[in-house]
Symmetry: C3
Subunit: 372 residues, 3 copies
């Protein structure tokens, strides 16, 4: 148990769940303000939040939960100017006292309500799990790969197939629920009925889906940038020249205009799509989002988002079209992949176009304005 005497004599900091607290300090703490800045080392090991437990142990003290999102060293060294501190507590005066100390430390204080709220800070971290997904996926596929007894060297090729496909499908899954919602509203002719639960939940996790999709797209871009550095690619280039020289010494090496057209549009569509993708990501940074009005944010996320989906789908189609005329070396997994991954985006785009038809759009707008 850790106890630190801070400036105001009646303020106490407590950073550890303690079993010895009540017996030792109970009477001493009557009428004092107790600041609980602990986090449990592991989640879910205690049924109630530390702060609530403390309050139960020392009913006479006013417990304020907070500061637990800050670094202990920074706290001790007063290097916290400008940081935000969250406080929860049942006693307004206690919170006021803690708030004053915090302001003196340069902290910006945000009141987060009563003590019961404190538990909600211990929410599980879905944000983090999804961050590991891309790396994980890569590892799994690398393993599958090795089992298939295909040489390690096409690991990058495989990753560069899986990542963009997953990214494109996830991107379309961001925009599918919005389209479904519109059709439900059109079918019902009213907006005053709740959507089914699955749709509701799906719509609420679109941001997470979109960010993971962005992560895969970034990996695809990086893996594409390094293509020409790879030994196998350089080797193929050299051996093609050598072949060329040996075979047709007389015929001039001819330029295939269609292929030039194909690769160039593939690349420009990919680049522009990726650019818009990153803009979507930047606009979902909390501080950027907060500085945009709802209309601006919606314009970027909805209009620009559909444009991104359209451009990335076109990029995928051109890749497929190129495939038909290019002699592909790595055949396994390819045919299903690049064709299957275009189904969901195409469906979303077609449905969206239907919704944009003047007559449908008018009806939908009227429904959304509350006319029935």
């Amino acid at each position: 148990m850790q106890m630190q005497q801070t400036q105001p004599a009646h303020l106490h900091m407590c950073a550890q769940r303690s079993l010895r607290l009540s017996t030792n300090h109970g009477p001493y703490l009557q009428g004092k303000v107790l600041v609980d800045l602990s986090n449990n080392l592991k989640k879910g090991i205690y049924p109630e939040a530390n702060a609530e437990y403390l309050q139960r142990l020392v009913p006479g003290a006013a417990v304020v939960k907070g500061l637990n999102t800050l670094s202990a060293w920074a706290l001790q060294n007063g290097l916290l100017a400008g940081k935000q501190a969250y406080l929860c507590g049942d006693s307004a005066e206690a919170k006021q006292a803690v708030s004053e100390v915090c302001t003196r430390l340069g902290l910006q204080v945000l009141d987060r309500g009563s003590l019961v709220e404190a538990s909600s800070e211990h929410r599980p971290g879905p944000h983090c799990i999804l961050l590991l997904l891309p790396a994980h996926q890569g590892v799994i596929y690398a393993k599958v790969e090795k089992k298939e007894d295909i040489s390690f060297r096409i690991m990058i090729s495989l990753a560069n197939k899986v990542f963009p496909i997953v990214s494109l499908v996830m991107l379309s899954l961001c925009y599918l629920p919005g389209v479904i919602a519109s059709f439900i509203q059109l079918y019902r002719g009213t907006k005053y009925r709740r959507f089914p639960d699955w749709l509701d939940r799906w719509m609420l996790c679109r941001k997470q889906i979109g960010l993971v999709a962005l992560g895969f797209a970034v990996l695809h871009a990086v893996l594409t940038f390094i293509i020409p550095i790879r030994y196998s690619v350089r080797h193929k280039l050299i051996s093609r020249v050598v072949d060329e020289m040996k075979k047709n010494k007389t015929t001039p090496f001819d330029f295939d205009n269609t292929e030039a057209w194909g690769t160039d549009s593939l690349l420009i569509l990919g680049s522009v799509g990726f650019f818009l993708y990153v803009i979507l990501g930047i606009s979902s940074l909390p501080s950027v989002g907060a500085s945009l009005s709802w209309r601006e944010f919606n314009f970027i996320q909805s209009k620009l988002g559909h444009l991104t989906l359209f451009i990335c789908t076109a990029h995928g189609y051109i890749y497929g079209w190129n495939k038909l005329m290019l002699p592909s070396t790595y055949k396994w997994y390819t045919p299903p992949g690049y064709m299957l991954c275009l189904i969901v985006p195409s469906v979303v785009l077609v449905l969206k176009v239907v919704l944009l038809l003047p007559c449908v759009d008018r009806t939908l707008t009227r429904i959304r304005q509350g006319w029935e």
Copy 2:
């Protein structure tokens, strides 16, 4: 019209501009708090803000405008912990009541003043328009291109000429007004007179200009990274080897030291310039900017910004110098482009150097300190 009974019996939410509100609910709503969370589906269709209109309809109720920047689903599902909510309203008690509900939902409440302020949330979104510019520009040029009956395959080459040129010119346009302002102050000998209006407005949109310029620079970088993947580039490489082999079988293929020097400094200057460019962009993210002091922010934006401009201009000069000795294949559009785009940056840099001369700098500093 949508009506939701929330926890406190006297609080009502209203998410739609309603024509039937006054007749139906008028008397019922006397003395109640009305929360207006609507946004008009299209801008400028009504002369007054929805909240003001509501207030006129139900004069007896206290209208509070807010929460309209949050997602309706998130609102319904209580998944808003940590989000910011803006409230406007004429009645302090009404705002207090709404604020309490918001805090209970985990929202962080920010008071934005009286109800008249509400309209200002409906400001037009200049931020968004500029985001589409790069994509748009690309499309226009692609069209011009096709009309000129030059094959689609040099689309990337053209985009990779237009984007960096536009970016460099826009970057210099960020730093031109500051220089002009200094000369005006030097000429006038005082800082106590307003700048001409055009200069004022120009200075206010430098951030927007800079971000669009960054967007173009990023596109230039991405298009540069993919150069070696392009079919036409690979083809040129192969045919050069084949040519080489056929022509001078005996002469050793010699290494051009000047060209190696040229491309390498082109690339390193571009990379460092791009790096600093992105740092400028990161420091203009609202939350990063807010955590820097004015002095630090100004150091990055002004000193580092001029350094970025200098390095990017040098990059452009080396490109021009390279051009003179490299046999260029795509001749049209090039000569004006890369030469014209260096004029504005060069002028800005020369003027800035003049301002940094000790005597001029001393005079300027004295003027800015208020000495006359």
Copy 3:
């Protein structure tokens, strides 16, 4: 001295340290609120903050320091909606009055305590200095380079050796203090004694070290992406083909499977490491960090950080292993570099593995829970 009459008659803005203030305006300013929005043009030229100086000059007025982080033009043009304004001052009423004006301008007001705090805004800017480091380092090495009479063309090659090495060492220096701290706690058997001062200070600047390391890593990535565009690389490729053709006209150009395996794992490990590195950077943006709980933030920074270190170290090892079998052309500087840079990361990783052994981990956890 600059004086602007704002809406409330008793509010005055003062943007310049003035020597003529007391004599001219002293009596006139009694009982008025004085807003000091100045920053000194150079640091440390006056012993006290401008606001304190002002207060001493006009003891009868209530001085509020603030708004000095905002742009003067934006301030004059009322384009500040949504921006944050910090206020410091001794008089609560004066701050209230300024706060009201600010709210009317659309500013979000944050109270930063009493006037003495104002000086702390003039803290030196360590953030900025480190931003110049990468550029600077590059310049120094370029100079060393020229003195060594080695051609300018390997500037990129040298930069692309120095940057990743510095980045990897700095990354491991981010995680070394945490490991040392754990061993100190293990040795002492208690957590209730302060760490030595140097360790304390080291731990506090880990964020800065990490961000600089990220900057170097980004430069390494960009310089790697442009490798195949370089003239010298293209030249080497062509001359290798020509050589190949001349020497072994009969033998088929054979594919080295080990080398393919080597470069591909080098590249995939680099890409994944870089991806995780950027995630670390994004999560340390103030607004992203603030939206994560302490547990989530710690998970990303500590767990994901060690994973990043592991992957980047493996990337370095594979590079060294590749080196042994590849005929390296640029020999100087290389052998010490890539081998030395692996020492610190390896030590950190080995120590971390020791700490993760079940028995050690259990003891450490008990110590950290306060059991002795």
